[in-house]
């Protein structure tokens, strides 16, 4: 395994061209903290973004930041925080879940469409990603989008590349829309509710005018002995006081919530964002994406068929993090069978290589969509050198 760390986009183009000529499959890596995502691949060479660093553009008044792909995420976040701004989508940190170290990069946030609890209100990484530069599998540097947030010029390749896990090309620069950091953040906590009631509470709050920015339900055994249902408010301080009172009144059937703020609130949401309740265990970890109200239904159907399963809900019930024993197919058939009638899909986020090699990590697609996916892969990467098989076998 050889490691290549181009120091410029032109270097990257030349290296990709040579890999294409030699038909050398390439792994693409930023900080390496999320390398466990997707199917295990067999590559002979690794292309790293570590040599492409630095903020390329930051205009606080325009709410836009650009950086080379290998720039540490922490550097981007610090630069924004110094001016009272932030990335809108609260990107997950995979280090705890994957027991990895190193620095997550901004490029990998884009390539993995890595989002967090705030996704339910402020959109995913793909919604804030407004521009990219990418080396495709012809060794060409191409761009899509740009530095302005309203832009419908041409096909939106930015969205395609967000969440393509390096299979379409090597990102060299990314540009994100940013938002002001709220003046105050608080979390309201209700205790002891069932999954179904907890998610119904979240639904009631999300359908209110009081704008929760995050909404999660942690059943008993996830981080505490009792169930916790959580709503996070972000706003100017006087609005928080008002909205807390209104939500408490609206949801009074569920009792008076506890209010937590500051470090206690922040660390709780980091645990949710990073699925840290599964850190350090042997469980296989799934991510189920569902219509929010179907979250508890899916889990009710699965509870009896998956002994030893643990789970919690983010995104108002629409994202279920599910831990199961890492045996056999890690519950793949049962999980996909349970959610098929409900719509939605399941992704195997963490499991030993042997399981991720034998079980479809991403939800299998219908025939026409698989054909389109394969065609898009070929359109970017005709020789199939970028992360072959990372998302689907043979693609």
């Amino acid at each position: 395994m050889t490691l290549h760390t181009p120091s410029s986009e032109a270097d990257a183009c030349a290296f990709v061209s040579s890999a294409v000529a030699a038909r050398t499959p390439l792994a693409i890596v930023g900080g390496g903290t999320r390398a466990g995502l997707g199917r295990p691949t067999q590559t002979q060479s690794t292309l790293s973004s570590a040599g492409l660093t630095g903020i390329t553009l930051y205009e606080p008044a325009e709410m836009v930041i650009g950086a080379r792909a290998g720039t540490p995420l922490a550097e981007v976040q610090k630069t924004l925080a110094d001016r009272g701004q932030m990335l809108p989508f609260e990107p997950m940190d995979h280090r705890a879940l994957f027991a990895t170290s190193g620095e997550p990069t901004i490029g990998a946030v884009a390539a993995g469409n890595v989002s967090g609890p705030r996704r339910i209100n402020a959109g995913a990484a793909r919604d804030s990603l407004i521009g990219i530069r990418l080396v495709n599998g012809k060794g060409e540097a191409i761009k899509s989008g740009g530095r302005v947030m309203k832009n419908v010029t041409g096909l939106d390749l930015v969205k395609l590349v967000a969440g393509s896990f390096g299979t379409l090309g090597f990102l060299t620069e990314v540009i994100f829309r940013v938002l002001p950091t709220p003046e105050r953040i608080v979390t309201l906590v209700w205790r002891g509710l069932s999954d179904e009631v907890g998610v119904a509470l979240l639904s009631g709050a999300l359908g209110s005018p009081f704008e929760p920015f995050a909404a999660a339900h942690l059943p008993a055994g996830i981080g505490a002995g009792h169930a916790r249902t959580l709503l996070r408010l972000e706003n100017f301080s006087d609005s928080i006081d008002y909205r807390k009172a209104e939500l408490t009144e609206l949801l009074r059937a569920h009792g008076e919530p506890e209010l937590i703020e500051g470090e206690a609130s922040m660390s709780l949401w980091e645990q949710i964002r990073d699925a840290r309740f599964f850190a350090g265990t042997d469980e296989a970890v799934w991510r189920l994406s569902l219509t929010p109200g179907n979250g508890p239904k899916a889990m009710a159907a699965l509870a009896s068929t998956l002994p030893g399963a643990r789970w919690f809900y983010d995104w108002g019930g629409g994202l279920v993090w599910l831990g199961v024993p890492a045996q056999g197919d890690a519950g793949a058939d049962a999980i996909r069978e349970a959610i098929r009638p409900l719509g939605g899909h399941a992704t195997l986020v963490r499991a030993p290589d042997a399981i991720r090699a034998s079980v479809p990590v991403f939800e299998p697609l219908t025939e026409p969509l698989m054909r389109v996916t394969a065609g898009i892969k070929t359109s970017f990467d005709p020789a199939g050198v970028f992360e072959p098989g990372r998302m689907y076998a043979g693609i």
Partner: protein, 478 residues
């Protein structure tokens, strides 16, 4: 006006018209097929009325299956297809060509399902934008993207163009508010992409389809997010002595951590035109007007407005006028949203749609003025100040071919200027035919070829809306 070229119609297709019409007639209900010249006439153009071509035939299917059958047939016969929503495209996105079949979704206008608990609505593509909000407003919900044409434009068209609106500073554009679509591909395959959930199972094909201008297939149904409305909303008018001061105030408001739900800018010519039409009480003694809307409870709006007013005062605001009633608020928005229509009462106009980095605003306003004056024409500016999406309206007389050409040339110069300062050709209207030949100013050959190779995955024969988006020369098929 004839500056924008159309591909020469395929003589073979024109010669086979009777057979093609007969083939279509065998696939759809009789009332779904329009063949007489008189009845085809309304489909010969859209809101870019300077260009028109009578299509070969028009089909208005009622079901996804009919759309699939017609697309499969056209694909087999090698007949171009032009998808059409409500025909309100400002960039000519729905303008047909003589050898093409128009497939319109206007009869597919039912709201299929509203799910308040999960905050989604499933609608057919021909439902109008405003009808979605209309269907859920009694329960206090709304559909966020609000293009000015929202009374008429369809959700299918919105998805095709990734439409925006005045309130997308806070709520995003179409692509941020659509969760799923039923897409019929050229070979007649029917694909469900997305649904009630928030993220894609693989590549973000939904993100690709939104804004693809009818080149990848035809969307027949969509699942869209509906949001609970704020407790209240209040637009406030801020009149400034100069455009620069208005621009600086916008930057300062954002810098203070305030994201109003909308920040709309009008220059003096636009203020005069809109006030004459809407009688909204716009101040007439200022050079620039901002309409800033805040949301929330009364106390929250008061608090947010106090912050905004203080900032505006630091930037020399001359007039601050708060709406005192729902009627006044409606008039304020009516003035802004009818800017295009009101302009149409005094002159013909073309409406540009470039986006610029907002820091470039004073520079761009000066340059635009000089460009338009250089052609001996007038311009009125309305735009979304928070996001830099400009809508210069270039006024001209469409019965004067020389002036019409000048207007188009001035528009092209303005769009090139937008790209030059770091922006783009189109913020929310789409490329269509209008900006097609300017694409090479924003993208180089490698960029465009990558887009065209992706396009070819869906339509290797260039049959779907083929005269749009990409310059006619230098196209790649795969």
């Amino acid at each position: 006006m004839s500056a924008i070229a159309f591909p020469a119609p395929d003589a073979g297709i024109l010669a086979r018209r009777d057979a093609i019409v007969a083939g279509l007639a065998s696939l759809v209900a009789p009332e779904a097929l329009i063949t007489s010249a008189d009845e085809r006439r309304p489909y010969e153009t859209d809101a870019l009325t300077a260009y028109r071509r009578l299509p070969l035939a028009v089909v208005l299917p009622s079901t996804t299956q009919e759309v699939a059958a017609v697309l499969r047939y056209c694909s087999e016969q090698g007949v171009p297809v032009v998808p059409r929503g409500a025909g309100t495209s400002l960039c000519g996105g729905a303008i047909p060509q003589e050898d093409a079949v128009v497939i319109g979704v206007s009869k597919m206008n039912r709201i299929l399902e509203i799910d308040y608990a999960n905050r989604t609505a499933k609608v057919q593509a021909g439902v109008t934008n405003l009808a979605v909000t209309g269907a859920v407003s009694e329960q206090g919900f709304f559909y966020a993207p609000d293009p000015s044409s929202q009374l008429a434009c369809s959700i299918g068209g919105n998805i095709g163009m990734n439409s925006g609106g005045a309130h997308c500073l806070k709520y995003g554009v179409t692509t941020n508010n659509v969760l799923g679509v039923t897409l019929v591909m050229l070979d007649g395959s029917i694909c469900e992409i997305g649904g009630g959930h928030l993220d894609a199972p693989g590549l973000d094909l939904l993100g690709l389809v939104v804004g693809s201008e009818g080149q990848l297939g035809i969307v027949t149904e969509a699942t869209v997010r509906i949001l609970r409305s704020a407790e209240g909303a209040r637009p406030v008018l801020f009149g400034f002595p100069t455009s620069e001061q208005a621009g600086e105030a916008v930057a300062a408001i954002i810098g203070a951590g305030i994201i109003p739900v909308a920040m709309e800018f009008m220059d003096k010519p636009a203020i005069e035109i809109c006030e004459a039409f809407a009688k909204a009480g716009y101040p007439m003694d200022v050079e620039a007007l901002l309409i800033i809307e805040v949301e929330g409870s009364d106390a929250e709006m008061d608090a947010q407005l106090a912050r905004i007013v203080a900032i505006a005062r630091e930037h020399g605001v001359k007039t601050v006028k708060e709406s005192q009633s729902a009627m006044e608020s409606a008039a304020i928005w009516k003035g802004r949203k009818s800017a295009f229509g009101a302009t149409g009462r005094i002159a013909d106009y073309i409406c540009m749609d470039g986006t610029i980095p907002t820091g470039q605003l004073p520079h761009v306003l000066r340059r635009m003025d000089a460009i338009v004056k250089g052609y001996g024409l007038r311009v009125a500016n309305v735009f979304h100040a928070g996001d830099g999406n400009l809508h210069p309206l270039i006024l001209y007389n469409c019965n004067d071919p020389v002036e019409a050409q000048k207007a188009e040339d001035a528009g092209n110069d303005i769009l090139k200027l937008c790209v030059e300062v770091g922006g783009c050709l189109t913020g929310e209207h789409g490329v269509g035919i209008e900006k097609r030949d300017l694409m090479t100013f924003q993208f180089n050959e490698a960029d465009l070829h990558q887009q065209m190779r992706v396009r070819a995955v869906f339509d290797g024969k260039w049959l779907m809306n083929p005269a749009k988006v990409f310059p006619l020369e230098g196209r790649v098929a795969a």
